[in-house]
Amino acid sequence: MSGAVDRVQAPFGTREVVVSGTEDAGPYRVFSCLDAAGPEPTSGQFYMLASSERWGGGSEERPYLPRAISVLAAGDRQLSFVLEVVGPGTERLAELEEGDALRLLGPLGNGFTAPPPGVRAILCGGGIGVAPLALLQQELVAQGYEVTALLGFRDREHAAGAEFLEAAQVATDDGSVGHAGLVTELLLAELDRDASAVIYSCGPPQMLEAVRAISVDRGVPAQLALEAPMACGYGACYGCVVKCADGSLRRSCVDGPVVEAGELAADWLAVAS
């Protein structure tokens, strides 16, 4: 209950930070900031982000709400985020340049949990969902775990996202890089080779559902980092619910974004769309 701390907790309220660097990686935009006032996040946690200037007044006179973005890298008070432009919020964030001010709230949500000692971690990511897996890989490698990274992308351009992780096997939908097909096919091959592992996954909902089904089918534990539209990121708005195995609708911001595959209802994806 309330006494137990199950995550790195955030300072109360948003704080302003300054963008310290930006970089493009294919269609992805990376930006970093110095966050002197915040605690260091763990992989799988996220922040609510909004530009300090001109947040609003873009297409359809949006954005209005801050955007939930996973941490790509953290350390030495630096935070890095990666995003792909999909709407007015990410469009504005992608415009930020070095020296621009950014408001953030976080770190938020619960992060990934390391495997039992000696058990291999298989990271299975898709598209922009590779971001939290990059920080997870760093953490697990530093702790001496064997880590296998499997990443899926649409095409060669998007496969630039593979550079956020070390030594990743890549699958592309169009076969232009690596395995021609789904990243979950690489996952099945890895499990055939050695099923003693914990799966960590983040990516498009259809991919997460495929990983959930594989996890249940093969009896291999999986931790899934969910993405859901949310207004607040701290449990106030009840907008980001996902259907769980017990029939409840739980908030992915405070009861996630990382959930055990077995916690989700088998039809969670149908309910979410």
């Binding site: 309330s2 701390v5 199950d6 995550r7 907790q9 955030a10 300072p11 109360f12 309220g13 948003t14 909004a50 609003g56 359809e60 006179e61 949006r62 954005p63 209005y64 709400l65 801050p66 408001r103 709230l105 938020l108 859901a228 539209p229 949310m230 207004a231 607040c232 701290y234 449990g235 106030a236 708005c237 009840y238 907008g239 980001c240 619910v241 996902v242 029939g247 409840s248 609708l249 908030r251 405070v254 309910v271 979410a272």
Partner: protein
Amino acid sequence: MAVDLCGLELAHPVINGSGTFDVIAARRVFGPSMDENLPFSAFVSKTITLEPRLGNPPPRLFETAAGMINSIGLPNRGLAGYLEHDLPQLATLPVPLITNVMGSNADEVGQLLEALDGREEVAALELNVSCPNVKTGLDIGSDPAELTKLLAAVRGKTSKPLIVKLTPNTANVALVAAAAEASGADAVSLINTLRAFAADPARPGKAWLGGGTGGQSGPAIRAVALAQTCAVAAAIELPIVAMGGIASAANARQFLDAGALVIAVGTESFRDPAAAGAIRDELLELS
């Protein structure tokens, strides 16, 4: 800037709108700094119903120009769950607790008020009347006669201060407010969200939100809220808790100048949990 809201002594005039801040979840996210920094002079719970509610299927949110539409569907543990799980945690807050309740008829509302009347942790009750009458389909709070009937049946069930949360989705909010005043309300609060439709970009004519229609909030509704606050202030003598798109101390000042005793911050807290604190601080400086 201390105020007396029908017997509740509030340190300042800034509270939260029901359903826009969850202190129990916020304690998990922010730890002890949540209680230390709680920006509200009273805490209003989310709406509690007699039976548990799962809430609406997602999607539940739609961002608009200067605001958002929500279709959350009042998820809650029900009265028994509230008393067992939520109330003990809410009771430790450093400010008075106002419990918001809703029922679909006088019997349900009466049971809720009666059960909470005996709980000393609850300082006041707020009655959400944005609930459709099962027989007429109209929101109880949209019709002065319906509201009069409801309050006549339930007012005697509690001796605690009773705040009626008015709906803006009515022809004449001042008439509804006058009905509340004549029927024993101790205060009114307004406005609730404005009924709104979010069109699914991929399916012409279809609703984006899982619950069908939703409620618009945020700065987009502020001018409407201000107009309704003025109209209600001109019609009744009861204290008014005003809200609707308040995002700054200057906004808050306008509502106070329009006749509100207390203002509530809602959607702006989604953008920053400390937003109400900044509004409070600036209001104190202005005064």
